[in-house]
């Protein structure tokens, strides 16, 4: 370390390389998640680099190193705790979606839409299917069907209107 402080690059590379195994051993005993060990190790190496001016060559090196390592490990643990505290508990969405009443309503809505779609003339049905079910853009539908963009927009608009009327009629019938 003393040589590194004088700018000896070779000594510094040797030092940091040898520190890797020492620190890995130290970290595996303290960090339960093995995938985080490398991240913390890199943080320690960066911290060692930042703090190298604070090392006194006349004093032992390891207490200095382990003080930094311990600081970074505590930092990591605190970060993890904060992350866990910030995470909101997973809401049991399945309960909402799988609730029998909701499912029943959704099924009924799908059925109505399907019936309304079937009742449309072929041209209109084709355009609605391409736009809303297959997810094509207006430009792409125009290109596929060979109709102008304006015509696609008008046809789609009329198709939605027809479908709305059909759904309303069917809804009244079911009620």
């Amino acid at each position: 370390m003393a040589r590194s402080q004088q700018g000896d690059k070779q000594a510094y590379t040797q030092l940091l390389t040898s520190l890797q195994s020492i620190l890995q051993e130290y970290l595996y005993k303290r960090i339960f998640d093995p995938s985080s060990v490398d991240d913390v190790l890199q943080n320690i190496l960066i911290a060692v680099d930042k703090a190298k001016a604070t090392y006194t060559p006349s004093k032992p090196f390891y207490p200095w190193l382990y003080a930094i390592a311990q600081y970074k490990v505590i930092d990591y643990i605190r970060q993890q705790e904060r992350k866990i505290a910030k995470e909101t508990e997973f809401e049991p969405i399945s309960e909402t979606f799988c609730a029998p009443e909701t499912n029943k309503e959704t099924e009924e809505a799908f059925e109505l839409i399907h019936l309304a779609l079937e009742k449309l003339p072929e041209k209109k049905r084709n355009i609605v299917t391409l736009l809303k079910i297959e997810g094509y853009s207006i430009e792409e539908v125009a290109e596929k069907t060979g109709i102008s963009i304006a015509n696609v927009k008008v046809t789609a608009h009329r198709a939605y209107k027809d479908m709305r009327l059909t759904i309303e009629k069917l809804d009244k019938k079911y009620d």
Binding site: S4, Q5, Q6, G7, K9, Y12, T13, L16, T17, Q20, D38, L41, Q42, L45, I46, A47, D49, K50, A51, K52, A53, T54, T56, K59, P63, W64, A67, I68, Y71
Partner: protein, 215 residues
């Protein structure tokens, strides 16, 4: 980035590092600049009219000396924390307690003087005519900034202790300086407007240190 690349990056940017001076050298350097700065502030704010009389007041001089000693000890200890391997030994614990103890002694001396009449202190706190506490805070701003700029050069691990002691050191000097600019010697005024601020500023120092000394 893997470890090899990181080491290569760190090594490629390596330049000779200037070693951190000793804590004693840093604290003396900091103290001399701070004392000079506070002297200028006191002159700008206006020294009390009976300053020549106060030179013969033994307790006033004793108070000043105690404040200086507390400041020097607290400052020295806070600079010691710049080294990551620094640990509070028995001696340093005694020193830290001594600097805090000096202020507890000064506060309790005036508390006895007013017979622990806390309502007097409360009245002085809201005495708008003589708000010396603002002066104490104002005097502390530049020295605290300078202190943290030095502390940031180190690798402080025990941030709260370093921050509290460092800022206590600044507040001690500011509080003592403000006694040279304020003409009131009423114990309740000294307590409420000069001495209690030392600990208030000290606790602010803890919060500042937690934010500023991250590395």
């Amino acid at each position: 980035m893997n470890n090899k690349d990181l080491i290569k990056n760190l090594t490629d940017n390596l330049e000779p590092t200037q070693k951190l001076p000793s804590a004693l050298f840093l604290s003396l350097k900091w103290l001399s600049i701070t004392v000079l700065c506070l002297f200028v502030f006191a002159v700008i704010a206006g020294l009390r009219k009976d300053i020549d009389m106060m030179a013969y007041n033994h307790y006033f001089i004793f108070e000043t000396l105690l404040g200086l000693i507390a400041s020097l000890i607290a400052g020295y200890l806070s600079f010691c924390f710049m080294r990551p391997d620094f640990k509070l030994t028995n001696i340093s614990y005694v020193l830290a307690c001594a600097s805090i103890g000096i202020w507890l002694y000064l506060i309790s001396y005036y508390l006895i003087e007013i017979d622990f009449n806390l309502s007097l202190i409360a009245k002085e706190f809201i005495n708008i005519e003589q708000l010396c506490s603002i002066e104490v805070f104002a005097f502390s701003i530049i020295p605290i900034t300078y202190l943290f700029s030095i502390l940031q050069k180190g690798a402080v691990i025990q941030k709260m202790k370093a921050g509290f002691l460092g800022v206590l050191s600044v507040a001690s000097l500011s509080s003592i300086t403000s006694r040279y600019t304020c003409s009131s010697d009423m114990p309740s005024h000294i307590l409420a407007q000069h001495f209690l601020e030392v600990f208030i500023i000290g606790f602010i120092g803890i919060l500042l240190a937690k934010k500023i000394l991250k590395w």
